[in-house]
């Protein structure tokens, strides 16, 4: 521990030194920060647009507060299309064409996995906002940070919550066949098994529209609960078609896809979606930090949405944390920003953001897995339930875990 604090001191003084140097070398204004978001198919455009809006708000807020190193910042939004090969090209373009000094955002795991190597090889720090696959931080790359939760960890919340259902014996998991869905479904199944609950995994292509056949199969499995690990409209289609067939959220405990957090779109597409559970990252709106509340107000006004999705907040924070790190580093040099990030304490919309492990301290020193490298350990993961029809996701009841609970879950079909 002692060496670690000593090193920290050294680093802080290095940062202070860099600050002076940075002021001496006049920066090219504006300072550009890249923002990854899927804005066209086959990416999840709903999520991408929310992230884009949030990152634009972050840009405006930071500039209104005086910018970074005496410059305005400019967030360069890049469309990843949800494709790994596209992500590589986009990252390359951001770095070499647009000249960004750091990158935030990121929605699809496959995009994160593919593009992180490009950024790391070029020494550009990245703070991923919403890419869950453990490998992203598990590769322990110097320039890669993440404020999204780990996939293994969100899976833990899923199965632990499922195990609280009284008399649960069998769960059906519907997953998309991507590197978000597949590991998550296996981890969830493994966890359920440890609690003595059987599970069957059905995997689908995200482009699927007609789920009638699968819904019948699920019905024949006679599950006590359904968990949907699918993003985008595929989850809407599945949930509504399950409801049509009598195994929807109103018929049995049903956890739907994460995009239901955009409740306006959810209720348009899944009119029979009452009582659905959704996993949500971040604390409930009632417990928002001051910054979180301010952001929520601006975001709702700008987008006309009735609530803030967690990935929008993560996207906002990914830009804001980078801006603070650049300020503290005093330069736009990649290594200095990494050092600043490792020591950062940022009051974000999601809470205080910091990174326990990295170059300064390896996760193995505390017996933790590699995936904890440059990983923010604190994103609160909750399960919410739409207990009333047409409810906004930020007003929905939080039913798990105990620490954040605002209401008891309503178990239909009991």
């Amino acid at each position: 521990m002692k060496t670690s604090t000593l090193r920290r001191h050294l680093m802080l003084s290095a940062a202070a030194f860099a600050l002076g140097a940075g002021a001496a070398n006049a920066q090219d204004c504006p300072i550009k920060i890249g923002g990854l978001a899927p804005l066209s198919a086959p990416g999840t455009v709903v999520g991408g647009e929310a992230m884009r809006d949030a990152m634009m708000i972050a840009e405006a807020d930071i500039n209104a507060a005086g910018g970074v190193l005496g410059c305005d910042i400019e967030v360069v939004i890049a469309d990843t299309e949800g494709l790994p090969e596209r992500a590589i090209a986009v990252m390359e373009r951001l770095i070499t064409q647009d000249g960004v000094v750091a990158v935030g955002g990121g929605y699809h795991s496959s995009v994160g996995v593919a593009s992180k190597d490009v950024a790391d090889a070029r020494g550009i720090p990245v703070v991923f906002a919403e890419t869950w696959n453990d490998t992203i931080t598990g590769d322990k790359q110097k320039h890669i940070f993440r404020i999204a939760p780990l996939s293994s960890w969100t899976s833990n919340v899923n199965w632990q919550f499922a195990l609280t259902l009284p008399g649960i014996e069998k769960v059906v998991i519907l997953t998309e066949n991507t590197d978000y869905g597949i590991p998550a479904s296996q981890e969830t199944a493994k966890g359920l098994e440890s609690g003595g609950v059987a599970s069957t995994i059905f995997s689908v292509d995200i482009g699927t529209q007609d789920y009638a056949g699968i819904v019948e199969r699920i019905k024949a499995e006679d599950p006590d609960m359904i968990i949907t690990l699918v993003t985008g409209e595929a989850a809407f289609n599945f949930t509504q078609q399950a409801a049509d067939a009598g195994i929807g959220p109103m018929d049995l405990p049903f956890q739907t896809g994460q995009d239901a957090l955009e409740s306006g779109t959810y209720w348009t597409n899944v009119p029979d979606g009452q009582y659905a559970f959704v996993q949500r990252i971040g604390v409930p709106e009632s417990q928002f930090t001051e910054k979180g509340r301010a952001f929520a107000a601006v975001y709702k006004e700008k987008t006309g949405k009735s609530d803030v999705e967690s990935y929008a907040m993560e996207a906002y924070d990914s830009i804001a944390v980078l801006a603070q790190a650049i300020n503290e580093a005093g330069t736009t040099d990649g290594s200095s920003i990494v050092t600043a990030l490792e020591n950062i304490s940022h009051e974000g919309t999601l809470g205080r953001i910091y990174f326990d492990y990295g170059l300064k301290r390896d996760p193995s020193e505390d017996g933790k897995g590699d995936e904890w490298w440059h990983q923010w350990p604190d994103p609160a993961i909750t399960i919410i339930q739409f207990q009333e029809e047409g409810q906004a996701s930020s007003e929905a009841a939080i039913v798990y875990p105990e620490a954040y609970k605002t209401a008891e879950p309503i178990w239909v079909n009991q």
Binding site: I214, R217, T265
Partner: protein
């Protein structure tokens, strides 16, 4: 090694199933090749013999092939159909022996549900494919923009009933969507396809494919640029009344709730699909009336049979081209307009139904109207069987897009004219038009 992931049941004795499939495949290929040789060397019509030979080999093995070999010139449609059905039954039997605990084998209610689902969705697919085959029979063009007409059909209903005129009757929305799609089809045909008919283009079929391809591309991204990509959906057009037959029974034969309909207490059909299928059948009947009882319809059919003769009889083939393309597009748009109450709608939704329509028209025979409809039902059933019966839960749904394509491949290999196609066997139709 890696443990099996899912907790679902696995096939108990896969050897039986794959053994039977292998046996059928070997004899099917042999039968097809041998009989074709024989017919070819005797200078007989070989267009049906591939399929018949394959089915004989698959159904009855060496015996079937030998029988057909012996009675060489005599090959009737009835025998082929019988052999084909036998082969299907054989596969089903092998499957049920190999995997007796599969839901498809053991669970009657499940089978009935899957069958009904396949049938209902098949009717809608078949209806949509009807538009494609109509276009082909008159213009000789496979429209690659069929899926995009389907997409704009649904989108227009959403925009008419939710965005532009909120609260308007959904029927008006559907009709508005059809009218607009009809106009787009007519305009496109006038602007882009007219050079095909004059003989100015040396390869009209390819030109038609590329031109409709361009339209598809443009329409899809145009809608995406205007609408963005958030999924939309419209509310159910009609709510069922609460009704039971016979009333008050313990387990009624027919029971309706707002959102669905239950038959025999086991099969449940969701309201939007039911409404869509019924509407499709009604419109199909109207279309048959149009084609067989009105002058325009007769003129259309005349042009599809013989262009020159129709022109001599005073029918303007150019106008019929326009009508056929617009009508075909409108049919796809109507299918979309009916399904937008069942599925979430995005600018990309057209791709999968378009593929399915291609499969259906090839299976039914390019240019054959009844073929398209029956092909649609068959494809619906095949997809239901594939999704329902494949034991590995992880893969069953991932392969949904492939089931139809396998049917397409088999059809083209064994009987390129499709089930009902005869006239366009060489695919030369439309060349030079």
């Amino acid at each position: 090694m890696h443990p099996k992931r899912n907790g679902g049941p696995s096939v108990q004795t896969p050897e039986i199933f794959w053994g039977v499939i292998l046996w059928m495949t070997v004899w099917g290929v042999l039968g097809s090749v041998l009989l074709r040789r024989r017919y070819f060397s005797r200078d007989l019509d070989t267009s049906n013999v591939n399929f018949a030979g394959a089915m004989a080999g698959a159904a009855l093995g060496p015996i079937g092939v030998a029988v057909l070999w012996a009675r060489t010139p005599k090959l009737s449609g009835r025998i082929t159909t019988f052999l084909g059905l036998t082969a299907v039954v054989l596969i089903a039997a092998a499957f049920s022996f190999a995997d007796p605990e599969n839901n498809c084998v053991a669970n009657g209610a499940f089978r009935a549900s899957q069958f009904t689902n396949g049938l209902i969705i098949g009717i809608i697919y078949g209806f949509m494919a009807l538009g494609l085959t109509l276009i082909f029979s008159i213009l000789g063009v496979v429209s690659f923009a069929h899926g995009e007409f389907y997409m704009i059909g649904g989108m227009l209903v959403y925009y008419i009933t939710v965005v532009w005129f909120p609260g308007v009757n959904p029927l008006l929305g559907v009709m508005g969507a059809c009218c607009l799609a009809f106009c787009i089809g007519a305009l496109f045909e006038r602007a882009m396809l007219t050079p095909m008919y004059t003989g100015k283009i040396d390869r009209p079929v390819e030109y038609g494919i590329l031109a409709t391809f361009g339209l598809a591309f443009t329409l899809q991204y145009f809608v995406q640029a205007l609408h963005g990509a958030s999924p939309v959906k419209v509310q159910r057009y009609i709510d069922f009344p609460r009704w039971e037959f016979p009333a008050g029974a313990e387990s009624p034969l027919i029971e309706t709730r707002r959102g669905n309909l239950t038959l025999f207490d086991t099969v449940s059909i969701s309201n939007p699909r039911f409404i869509a299928a019924v509407t499709c059948i009604l419109v199909l009947l109207a279309l048959l009336y149009l084609l067989h009882r009105t002058w325009t319809g007769k003129a259309l059919r005349a042009v599809s049979q013989d262009r020159e003769a129709a022109a001599i009889a005073g029918i303007d083939p150019n106008r019929m081209n326009m009508l056929a393309f617009a009508l075909g597009g409108m049919i796809a748009a109507l299918a979309g307009a009916l399904l937008v109450q069942a599925f979430s709608w995005l600018p990309q939704v057209g791709a999968i139904p378009a593929m399915r329509s291609f499969v259906i028209v090839v299976l039914g025979g390019l240019g054959s109207l009844p073929g398209a409809f029956i092909g649609g039902i068959l494809v619906g059933l095949v997809e239901a069987a594939g999704t329902g019966c494949i034991p590995d839960a992880q893969k069953a749904a991932s392969y949904i897009p492939a089931y139809g394509m396998i049917v397409l491949t088999l059809t083209l290999l064994l009987r390129p004219t499709g089930l009902f196609g005869r006239r366009f066997a060489s695919g030369a139709h439309g060349q030079g038009g």
